[in-house]
């Protein structure tokens, strides 16, 4: 009996250690997120720069007062700042593993929950204008309150109806706002 308990304890210890190691790998590689955001911002800045390059210049001063001047200047600034940020991250944290970061992100429960929420809000917004506003609100509130486990079914339904009424009727009525 004692032997079985010891074996179980050591198994639990091993699990804890593995979880700790995973957490360490995740924490260590978490700054890879800076690289990812820098890549996205650089891509955005390059897109804006290339787009601006094709704007016509009508001014006598050419480039300086044309519509393309500010977007090109700002895109360049954003790229420079992103490069500085990447270098600083590299110097501060040393070599980082992108795969370690990716596994950490996938294993993180909070990240998974945020993806589910993004999908819920995304679908809700996608259906606005297609399904009547009160109904889409009611469905959204029912689903999200159920996912967030705010209480019993009765409470979920009650809160959903009240929230939908506030969003669909009360606020638009007070401010004389047309709804989608």
């Amino acid at each position: 009996m004692g032997f079985v308990m010891k074996a179980e304890l050591s198994k639990n210890d091993e699990k804890d250690k593995a979880a700790e190691q995973k957490q360490e790998v995740k924490d260590k590689n978490w700054p890879v997120g800076d690289y990812m955001i820098a890549v996205l911002f650089i891509a955005y800045a390059v897109f804006m720069f290339v787009g601006a390059y094709h704007f016509p210049s009508r001014a006598r001063m050419g480039m300086l007062t044309s519509a393309k001047f500010t977007p090109m200047l700002l895109s360049t600034l954003v790229v420079i700042l992103c490069v500085v940020m990447v270098i600083r991250t590299r110097v501060k944290f040393g070599r980082l593993s992108i795969s370690g970061w990716f596994h950490g992100v996938m294993a993180d429960e909070r990240m998974r929950r945020s993806y589910v929420l993004m999908v819920m809000i995304g679908v809700y917004i996608l259906l606005i204008g297609i399904i009547p506003f009160f109904i889409i609100n009611l469905v959204f509130f029912l689903v999200i309150y159920f996912y967030l486990k705010i209480g019993t079914w009765k409470r979920i339904v009650l809160y959903s109806v009240i929230s939908s009424a506030v969003v669909s009727y009360l606020v638009p009525y007070v401010f004389n706002l047309p709804v989608p």
């Binding site: 700054p31 997120g33 955001i37 996205l40 911002f41 955005y44 800045a45 787009g51 601006a52 704007f55 016509p56 009508r58 001014a59 006598r60 001063m61 300086l64 007062t65 044309s66 519509a67 001047f69 500010t70 977007p71 700002l74 895109s75 600034l77 954003v78 700042l81 992103c82 500085v84 940020m85 600083r88 429960e109 909070r110 929950r113 945020s114 929420l117 993004m118 809000i121 995304g122 917004i125 606005i128 204008g129 959204f140 509130f141 999200i144 309150y145 967030l148 705010i150 809160y159 929230s163 506030v166 969003v167 606020v171 638009p172 007070v174 401010f175 004389n176 706002l177 709804v179 989608p180």
Partner: protein, 513 residues
């Protein structure tokens, strides 16, 4: 400028005050407007401008004084309401409250929600009263100063605001500046107002451009919903039962901050298009620089809440004078007020003082009365709005998504703005994961188009002699201020880094021992 005509308003103040106080419609207009504005400010997306615009139809059914009272009430109420959601929900209801989030919400998270709401209330009261007193006394000087501002100076003020917001909103200023300039780039989408060229106009909606309200709701509202609700057990605000705690003793050691912030609000408020958004950041920066508790800023220190709150309310006065005396609206709400005055047949501008003697005095007195009535009302109702905004996050935040949708929809009555809100919500969430600040991006979207326009107009004006642009006295002062801010922020960073390295070394030594 005829100074005698300008100062006549000082003498007419008592008579105008008596007229306002003895007209029940005007007082009711102020009260009703204040309540509507406060509710609007608390709803994500209903900014002061939007609430005022929506009420314009109703305004014209009232006499001039009552109608203007209603608009003044909505304006001041919305700015105050926006600060309350910034404190309790971490979502600034109006752009002016973006800097309030830094210490206001931190105080609420530390279990001081009622104190934070109380400080915000008193600060906005001081800001409004002080700003309007300053405006009234300095009326001729402010009007003259407003005329001295050229395109180049307005651009520099916007640049300073963006740089400051970028540096103050984040631990790492580089991330703040990436956000600020990224936001500014977004603002350039749409039609170029100078040459009429479509910039990134790939679809009809993009030709119109990206409005800042959906961006504000997305970055602060949707991102906050994702951030908080990703936890199985979201945080709860403690100590939220009862009315606000409005202790004046908090201000005893902070009166210098109050007066300084009033000065900043007044001075920067006159800068058209950018003043209202930039002033709170400037005031916050100055308060931090002058404070003995510099390290505590951003962690929930009353000083960090007082400075931006006083400044954002004091800007109303600064923005008002160019509108009334020169016919140049300094901000969105003053533009709506100007439109309302036109519709009543009153023409703001240099002739206003001659054609309607006492009108400016009455207008400013409306702000004072609104400040007093409104804070009394907010004290009575604070018990309820603190209770409503402090309910469980998993119940209230989904409602904020729904209200955000209405706010974004209300901008242009199309689903494009709602989609923009959602996209910026995702952008905000991922930026927040890596500690990028949201406020500089919002500020970039807000002032970006104006800053771009003024920069290129300045370049056109001085195209034959660009050097003379850099030798204008006020411009030179602003350039020096800009350089000082950038250099001091980089120096602070290096200092912090050195201190952190020293701490690590000391810890390692201790471990070895």
């Amino acid at each position: 400028m005829n100074w005698q005509i300008l100062t006549q308003e000082w003498g007419l103040l008592p008579a105008m005050a008596w007229e306002v106080m003895t007209t029940p419609e005007t007082l009711l207009g102020l009260l009703g407007g204040g309540l509507l504005g406060m509710i609007g400010g608390m709803l994500p997306g209903i900014s002061a401008v939007m609430a005022m615009t929506l009420m314009l139809g109703f305004v014209f059914q009232l006499p001039v004084d009552a109608g203007m009272g209603l608009l003044v009430g909505i304006y001041t109420g919305a700015i105050y309401g926006g600060s309350i959601t910034a404190v309790l929900l971490n979502m600034p209801g109006t752009p002016a409250a973006a800097a309030t989030v830094l210490d206001g919400h931190a105080m609420a998270r530390n279990g001081q929600s009622r104190e934070a709401v109380g400080i915000a209330t008193w600060s906005s009261f001081f800001g409004e009263i002080g700003g309007e007193i300053g405006t009234f006394i300095l009326l001729p000087i402010i009007a003259t100063a407003a005329l001295m501002l050229g395109d180049w100076e307005i651009f520099l003020v916007a640049l300073i605001g963006l740089t400051l917001a970028g540096a103050l909103g984040a631990k790492n200023p580089i991330k703040g500046w990436i956000a600020a300039f990224g936001g500014w780039l977004v603002a350039l989408i749409g039609t170029d107002p100078i040459w009429g060229v479509f910039r990134y106009g790939y679809t009809p909606n993009l030709m119109r451009g990206i409005e800042f309200i959906p961006v504000l709701i997305g970055l602060f509202g949707i991102a906050e919903v994702l951030w908080v609700l990703r936890e199985r057990v979201p945080y709860a605000l403690e100590g939220t039962k009862g009315r606000m705690i409005a202790k004046l003793s908090v201000f005893k050691g902070n009166m210098k901050t109050v007066f300084r912030s009033i000065g900043v609000g007044l001075g920067v408020g006159i800068v058209p298009g950018v003043g209202e958004s930039v002033a709170p950041w400037l005031a916050y920066d100055l308060a931090q620089r002058k404070s003995k508790n510099r390290d505590q800023f951003g962690k929930g220190i009353p000083e960090g809440l007082i400075a931006p709150e006083v400044a954002n309310n004091a800007t109303s006065g600064g923005a008002l004078i160019p509108m009334l005396v020169l016919g140049l609206p300094g901000s969105g709400p003053t533009a709506v007020m100007m439109a309302a005055l036109f519709m009543y047949g009153i023409r703001p501008g240099p002739m206003l003082i001659i054609e309607y003697p006492g009108f400016i005095a009455k207008f400013i007195f409306l702000f004072w009365v609104s400040a007093v009535i409104f804070r009394l009302v907010s004290f009575v109702f604070s018990k309820y709005f603190i209770a409503i905004l402090s309910v469980r996050r998993d119940v209230i935040l989904p409602i904020a998504v729904g209200l955000g949708v209405i706010g974004a929809w209300g901008v242009g009555f199309n689903t494009f703005d709602v989609t923009v809100m959602f996209i910026f919500g995702l952008v905000g969430y991922f930026m927040r994961l890596r500690e990028f600040p949201m406020a500089p991006m919002v500020l970039g979207v807000m002032v970006g188009a104006t800053a771009d326009q003024f920069l290129r107009r300045a370049l056109m004006t001085y195209q034959d002699n660009l050097l003379s642009m850099f030798t204008r006295p006020l411009g030179l002062f602003l350039i020096l201020a800009f350089i000082f801010i950038v250099v001091s922020q980089i120096r602070n960073q290096l200092k912090d880094r050195k201190a952190a390295l020293q701490k690590l070394e000391d810890e390692a030594k201790k471990k070895e021992e």
